[in-house]
Amino acid sequence: MTRATAPAHTQAMPDTVHARDGSDRSIVVERLTRDFGELRAVDGVDLQIPSGEIFGFLGPNGAGKSTLVKMLTTILKPTAGSATVAGLDISRQQGKVRQAIGVALQDVGLDPIMTARELLVMQAQLFGASTSAARQTATRLLETVGLDDVDPKKRVGEFSGGMKRRLDLALALAHDPLVLFLDEPTTGLDPASRMAIWDEVRRLNAERGMTIFLTTQYLEEADKLADRVAIINHGRIVALGTPSELKRDLGEEVVELSFDSPDHAEQAAAALADAAPECRLGDSGLRCYFAVAAHEVPAIVRALDQAGIPLRGLTIARPSLDDVFLRATGETMAEEASAPPDDEQTEEVR
């Protein structure tokens, strides 16, 4: 089985660079590279994200997701390459970039002995708001993220993971940023909290025209929220496009073949080299991509029969973003999601 080749990702910059109010809310990344000693964590990434887009950024652990986000949010220095966020250079205009962006990073914490309101007021003040304006902002944002009914004396240390995430989102919004970076905003949250964050992200994008750069390990999240999705693996972008484009690139339909043992699945992959050239080994067996699957099924069954490999099941389905991920990285997202936490994926919200 050959390794997936990356679909072309050098797309022309869409012409909506500027938002309705004329402000530049785009993210433009050129050959951005970051080394940690011998390791090249981010390897010459190019990206053009127009104003007002929700951009989903997917990748296995250690693929370079967080490293890229840290560079774009000015807390990590690039080794090479350049980027602008909201038209501002991340290396030369760090102060202005910080003023223009809101950031909710996964491994960034909250002071546990302060209350939600105190943290919000302080955040707004540090971004230059007067005391009275900061208080108004805090009231509005507590309402926005649904924390206005929490006991005002309750300290953040006593908050649940979901409450902390909502407060962190509110803090990222304290200065009404042009571009919002969310690093795995719903990891470890229950479905109801996840939905609440999704609704809020959609609303911010629709009503305020915020550009939203979102990393996630949930394909469903990227599929539902993002206008476009990029997949990063070993520091390089291996797939880029709208979720439907990416799925269409794979072929219209996918044939899922299941077997009694993983050995059979591997033998089948070899036996089907001619009948089904676009196949990937996944968790559940073999997944083969075709324009019209029904035409190919007889050939598949014949080839397996000739090779003496018993087939347990055969299903025809539409490709999912999981298929895109599998093809682009050679790994399944499900494996990644259950991998032990490392610094890119911390289960516990601090």
């Binding site: 000015t74 807390i75 950031v103 960034v108 914490g109 546990p112 955040q123 540090l126 005391t131 601090r350």
Partner: protein
């Protein structure tokens, strides 16, 4: 709103919400005052001892309160680094130095409050200052400067190690600083040669000498100038270390 002011106020609120970090160290300072004044008070009857033993021992209590107050600065930074909140602050346009100055100035406020309380307790116990109120104010000034020197030291260690246990361990310098000195008896009565040497190279000795001269002897330029020079030199060294480490910790890598 000035970011320095926001950071200072926030650190102060943090300190006051964690009285467990304040009360024990203050209690130790008061303990020095009562126990040693009561137990060793007769030292003042030795020939050649000038002034009261209370005036002699209260600088120890003051120095101890100053050190514990100053140590809060490092602890506050460690707490922010541990919780990840320090990174969150780095993502704001806050001036980088405000992030370090906030806890240092707040610790200084706590330190001065503690020192003033010790002085008041001393006065209630019968302390008489040979140089009056101005001398008492100078004693508090010395305590402040000396505390800030120590704060610089704890901030340096906090930012360097980014580890609560290591920074905590660094505050153990408190013990040699306080005890390897003319803590309980004047230098001329110390018989152990090693302790004489340790006391002579310990900057605390000169701070004690300056404070004691103010409380027990009257206006004397010698001990005051030496005390001031030693304190300023000590504060300059630790301040430079703290500044260097703060630049490093807030700089992009």
């Amino acid at each position: 709103m000035n970011d320095f002011f926001v950071m200072i106020r926030r650190s102060l609120v943090g300190f006051l919400r964690q009285p467990a970090a304040l009360i024990p160290s203050f209690a130790i300072s008061v303990f020095f005052l009562f126990v040693y004044n009561g137990g060793l008070g007769s030292v003042a009857k030795l020939p050649g001892f000038q002034g009261s033993y209370l005036g002699f021992i209260i600088p120890v209590s003051i120095a101890s309160a100053a050190i514990s107050g100053a140590g809060l600065a490092g602890q506050a930074l460690i707490r922010d680094i541990d919780s990840g909140y320090f990174t969150k602050l780095l993502l704001t346009p806050t001036r980088r130095l405000a992030l370090v100055w906030g806890p240092m100035v707040a610790a200084a406020v706590i330190l001065v409050a503690q020192v003033v309380a010790i002085v008041v307790i001393g006065l209630l116990m019968g302390l008489r200052s040979a140089t009056g109120v101005a001398g008492l104010a100078l004693v508090i000034g010395f305590a402040f400067l000396w505390g800030m020197a120590f704060a610089g030291f704890t901030v340096y260690f906090a930012l360097r190690t980014k580890n609560a246990a290591a920074a905590q361990a660094a505050t153990f310098i408190f013990f040699p600083l306080i005890f390897l000195s003319t803590t309980f008896v004047p230098l001329k009565y110390i018989s152990a040669g090693w302790l004489k040497v340790a006391a002579a190279i310990n900057p605390t000795t000169y701070v004690f000498a300056a404070m004691r001269s103010l409380l027990n002897e009257g206006w004397k330029a010698g001990p005051l100038l030496v005390g001031l020079a030693v304190t300023v030199a000590f504060a300059t060294v630790t301040g430079a270390l703290a500044l260097y480490q703060a630049r490093k910790a807030t700089q992009l890598t």
